[in-house]
């Protein structure tokens, strides 16, 4: 099997075609050219014509460059030695440490049998009232942060990662600016979380094929730790739109027929096979996936956020540095928010409903219509709500956030105006001093 093949008959985009017999589909090869050695993956077999996607790009490959087939699909080393390390999309070290080769596992493995899944049941505390109180994050959830370029999405991601109670953090960076990579690395280091983190980073200047491998690498390692070492793993993926764009670039160079705005027809399935790796294993660990999806042109109907929304269990909208109360949704919150505190659900619904009324009152005022006494109360409430709940610098545990919610209501309204059930009012409404 350790034989070299020299006869490259086609080079187009990042894909080369070499004549070779007996090659397993989807396996890896090493391509050696004057530019160095790169990994490549078999993506098409047609008789003895083998098409390979070259991870480092096809630049500098000659028609007689050497190709050696490894006979196995892409693998990644998964062991405790990875902790605190940084790798690129091919699994090679990006830091000063040695390359790792122990306990190699295949990436992109089969999906979990749906009948072995369990209903999620554990809340993940983040210290952000907009998440903990209003859109609770749940262990094994897959949740994207929808935002536009320029929003502090990586800061938010890093903050959640620092504060979330998990055993292991995996960062998958795709098309990151080098600064962003340094930011993640430094933030993890500063908070002493680097020793329980593993980073797979593809920066914007790296070969585009490696971008595609990053989520699979990170998720394969996550799966290993969750299943075999009972770890609760948090996987951060940023930015999934870059991942989709890489897919688009490759599909088009492969002359695939594009479906919607140039994206390949299997965009949904490709995203789903990654996001669906989020799971809670009965009797073992769990995988929670938080991803960033930047919306080109702030357009939620763009194919990437649109397909993502159909796959994930809710979404956080990040707008003007705040998590939007409308549109943001955690589909799994009702699995956990009945067990936190008896007033959680009622307070959550009431505060959002009143905030919606505030927006209407605000609009009314802006259009010059008469502002009633009720509207004045709402306007006061809305401002307090934005400062105490929506501001991302707020960092308080859920119980404090609930208490603060009651205080805010009491400062603005009479108990009856909130429409909360009387027994909860009796229990939680702050007593006059």
């Amino acid at each position: 099997m350790k034989k070299f093949y020299h006869h490259i008959v086609q080079i187009s985009g990042n894909v080369i075609t070499v004549l070779a017999p007996n090659v397993p589909y989807y396996s890896l090869a090493e391509v050696v050219s004057d530019q160095g050695t790169s990994l490549a993956q078999v993506i098409r077999l047609d008789g003895d014509r083998v098409s390979l996607q070259v991870f480092a790009g096809s630049r500098g490959i000659a028609t007689d460059s050497r190709v050696r087939f490894l006979g196995h699909p892409m693998r990644v080393s998964a062991s405790a030695n990875l902790l605190g390390r940084v790798f690129n999309g091919s699994g090679e070290p990006r830091d000063a440490g040695p390359p790792l080769s122990d306990n190699q596992i295949e990436i992109g493995g089969p999906s979990v049998n749906p009948s072995r899944r369990i209903v999620p049941r554990n809340m993940i505390r983040t210290g952000l009232p907009m998440i903990d109180l209003f859109n609770t994050l749940v262990e094994s959830q897959k949740l994207p942060i929808f935002s536009s370029a320029g929003e502090p999405y990586n800061d938010l991601l890093a903050r959640i990662a620092m504060q979330a109670e998990v055993d292991l953090i995996l960062v998958g960076g795709m098309g990151l600016k080098y600064d962003d990579y340094l930011f993640f690395h430094q933030t993890l280091e500063k908070h002493g979380a680097l020793s329980r983190s593993i980073l797979f980073i593809h920066t914007a200047s790296d070969p585009v094929v490696e971008c595609l491998l990053v989520p699979d690498m990170a998720l394969a390692v996550a799966e290993h730790f969750a299943v075999n070492e009972n770890k609760r793993v948090l996987v951060l993926l940023t930015d999934m739109t870059n991942f989709c764009d890489a897919m688009k670039e490759i599909a088009i160079t492969m002359e695939q027929i594009p479906s919607n705005r140039g994206y390949p027809g299997d965009l949904y399935s490709q995203l789903a096979s990654r996001y669906e790796k989020a799971v809670d294993f009965e009797g073992a660990g769990s995988i929670t996936v938080l991803a960033v999806t930047t919306m080109p042109g702030d357009d939620v109907t763009h194919p990437v956020p649109d397909n993502t929304g159909y796959i994930t269990e809710g979404q956080f909208y990040l707008k003007q540095g705040r998590i939007e109360p409308f549109g943001s949704l955690s589909r799994l919150k009702q699995q956990v928010n009945d067990a936190t505190r008896s007033d959680h659900r009622a307070l959550m619904d009431t505060m959002i409903r009143l905030y919606a009324d505030f927006r209407e009152a605000q609009e009314k005022r802006a259009m010059g219509f008469r502002v009633s006494e009720w509207d004045t109360k709402l306007l006061k409430y809305g401002d307090l709500f934005e400062a105490r709940m929506m501001d991302l610098s707020v960092n308080i545990p859920l119980e404090k956030a609930l208490d603060l919610g009651w205080t805010t209501l009491a400062e603005c309204f009479e108990p009856a105006e909130t429409g909360i059930k009387s027994d909860l009012i009796a229990q939680y409404w702050p007593k006059a001093q």
Binding site: N22, Y26, I257
Partner: protein
């Protein structure tokens, strides 16, 4: 059993999940074939033949397949095993029982592992229904076995042509599905039949006398559907909506509360987590009509988004074939497919691999005929023994960007009898179920007199118009008369169209209760009240709304029900214009 003789072939090309094979003798379009690679046997289906090569779509990951790997052609179209024991089961798109797979393979699905969909050991209490000498034809029952709630009919295989005479019939006894239950002769040959028959998924079962026009409403116990946009037994409807509009919750409500005999849920390319909720909740929930667990009338076909795409395409056909099988027993079946857009995407992916000329948004040109072919398998049929069975199909559609002007939604609208469009605005305003009352339509008959429904819809339309106007002229610029009409339409919306699917009582509203409630609501929206100012009108309708919502939470025809009703009547009497 004797091992079958397979026709052979060799792999000559691999592209994604499409494998090209050079075959030796002959090949049949859509026959099942297996690729032998390593120690796996990967199932596939012939989807194109060109010259000496056949293209297979493989239902599994194709990694490690090599040029020259052996292929076995089965000579049979992709078929299901039909027999007693299908109810309560969870299958993947190829009818593999998922819980049994988990027992063998653990947390993860294992490539190339296919298990028997039916329990071959279980003993069923067989009761013959015909005597020796009787003349039967395809679809006629020769006997029954009890399965859950029903007498499961053991039928002459649907593919057997002509008439047959019973030569021997098994006596009342406990038998497994593979035991011979009857021997039939058509004068030329004698055949044995067991409790199991196989049927190709892509061909509709037609062993019935004739199709009838669907007339009787299928009561879903969801007010906005039964009263405004009804569904008929044997009809079809679609539920398109953007993500987050409540498709899933609506589908779950339909599967729980619909008054039908069998519910088949096809989770086609959607989140696995949603199936898990059904799997965990249904066995615990009681079906109020029968007093048994809801799972007893349910089959789940589960090919979620991360499972192989080719099997997703098949899962829709698998579910409708199972529905047809139970329909043949004179049962009313509801098939809920979530989501048909994912199925269409699977068609698109394969079409792309075949390098077919793409249609709109790269969907294949035959998309519409495939959609029509699927929905046309619904219907109310008169069976050979003059009993009736029906299949009602409800398909969720997930249009890209929530825009209904896309090929799958448009292709579906042409062939369905009801359109329940979900709107993001209604969902954002927490008005659930978020079925848009102005855009949706249905061609079937509601559970309340349709004349009255038309009057109520007029009020909704007028209220909407006034609301539009108020955005320009403000509340104070609107006359009290108009403002009251607007409040009436809001009132109708919040106490009739909206329904709390998480409340044990409000979640299900019987046809009888709907009639009673609708009469009362109509009395309000067509009534004249003494309301002098905007403020007075608003608080009157707010109070009224609160009373109606409290009324919804009381059990039908109970003491609390009547008490809540009398509070409503008092308030109405106080303000009614004399």
């Amino acid at each position: 059993m004797v091992r079958k003789q397979y026709k052979k072939g060799k792999v000559v090309g691999v592209n994604g999940n499409m494998v090209s094979v050079r075959y030796e003798t002959t090949v049949i379009q859509n026959e099942v074939a297996y690729v032998l690679t390593g120690n796996c046997r990967l199932k596939g289906e012939v989807i194109r033949v060109r010259g000496e090569e056949a293209d297979l779509q493989i239902f599994e990951d194709t990694r490690d397949i090599k040029i020259g790997d052996g292929v076995e052609f089965s000579g049979e179209l992709l078929s299901l095993q039909l027999g007693p024991g299908l109810l309560t089961k969870v299958f993947d798109g190829l009818q593999n029982p998922l819980p049994k797979l988990a027992e063998q393979a653990g947390f993860f699905l294992q490539r190339g592992l296919y298990l028997d969909p039916l329990d071959r050991e279980q003993q069923w209490a067989f009761t013959p229904q015909v005597q020796v000498g009787a003349v039967v034809s395809a679809g006629d029952a020769v006997g029954t076995v009890p399965e859950g709630l029903f007498q499961h009919r053991i039928m002459v295989p649907f593919a057997w042509p002509g008439t047959w005479q019973v030569v021997w019939i098994a006596p009342t006894s406990y038998l497994t599905v593979d035991n011979v239950v009857a021997r039939l002769s058509n004068g030329r040959e004698e055949r044995q039949m067991t409790m199991v028959q196989s049927w190709p998924v892509k061909i509709p079962i037609d062993a019935y006398r004739k199709k009838h026009l669907p007339v009787d409403p299928l009561v879903t116990q969801i007010r906005v559907i039964d009263t405004f946009f009804p569904v008929a037994k044997g009809g079809t409807f679609c539920v398109p909506g953007p993500f987050g509009a409540g498709k899933t919750v609506l589908q779950h409500s339909l599967s729980r509360y619909s008054e039908v005999d069998v519910v088949i849920m096809a989770a086609c390319g959607e989140r696995a987590g949603e199936v898990v909720e059904v799997l965990t909740e249904f066995p615990e929930l009681e079906d109020p009509r029968t007093g048994r667990s809801l799972m007893d009338r349910t089959i789940i076909i589960c090919n979620t988004s991360s499972m192989p795409v080719a099997a997703r395409e098949t899962s829709i056909y698998t579910s409708v074939t199972l529905a047809e099988y139970y329909r043949q027993m004179g049962l009313h079946v509801l098939l809920l497919a979530d989501s048909t857009s994912r199925w269409a995407q699977a068609l698109r992916e394969m079409s792309g691999r075949l390098e077919e000329i793409p249609g709109e948004e790269a969907f294949p040109a035959y998309l519409e005929t495939r959609i029509a072919g699927f929905y046309e398998r619904a219907g109310l049929v008169e069976l050979n023994d003059a009993s009736f069975g029906s299949i009602t199909i409800g398909g969720a559609v997930s249009p890209a960007g929530g825009n209904f002007e896309e090929p799958v939604t448009q292709g579906t609208l042409k062939v369905v009898g009801g359109f329940l469009g979900l709107s993001r605005d209604r969902a954002n305003a927490r008005r659930y179920p978020a079925i848009n009352p102005l855009d949706s339509w249905s061609k079937y008959h509601p559970v309340v007199p349709s004349q009255k429904v038309r009057r109520a819809r007029t009020v909704l339309q007028q209220g909407n118009d006034i609301n539009q106007m108020m955005k320009v002229v403000g509340e104070e610029g609107t006359p009290v008369e108009d403002f009251t009409l607007f409040l009436k339409s809001e009132f109708l919306d919040s106490v009739y169209l909206q329904q709390n699917s998480f409340d044990a009582i409000d979640a299900a509203c019987s046809a009888e209760r709907q009639n009673y409630l609708f009469e009362k609501v109509l009395g309000v929206i067509e009534g004249q009240f003494d309301l002098a100012s905007h403020g007075e009108a608003r608080s009157f309708f707010q109070n009224l709304r609160q009373l109606f919502i409290d009324w919804h939470y009381t059990p039908w025809d109970s003491g609390e029900f009547r008490a809540a009703e009398s509070r409503i009547d008092e308030l109405l009497a106080a303000k009614r214009r004399s």
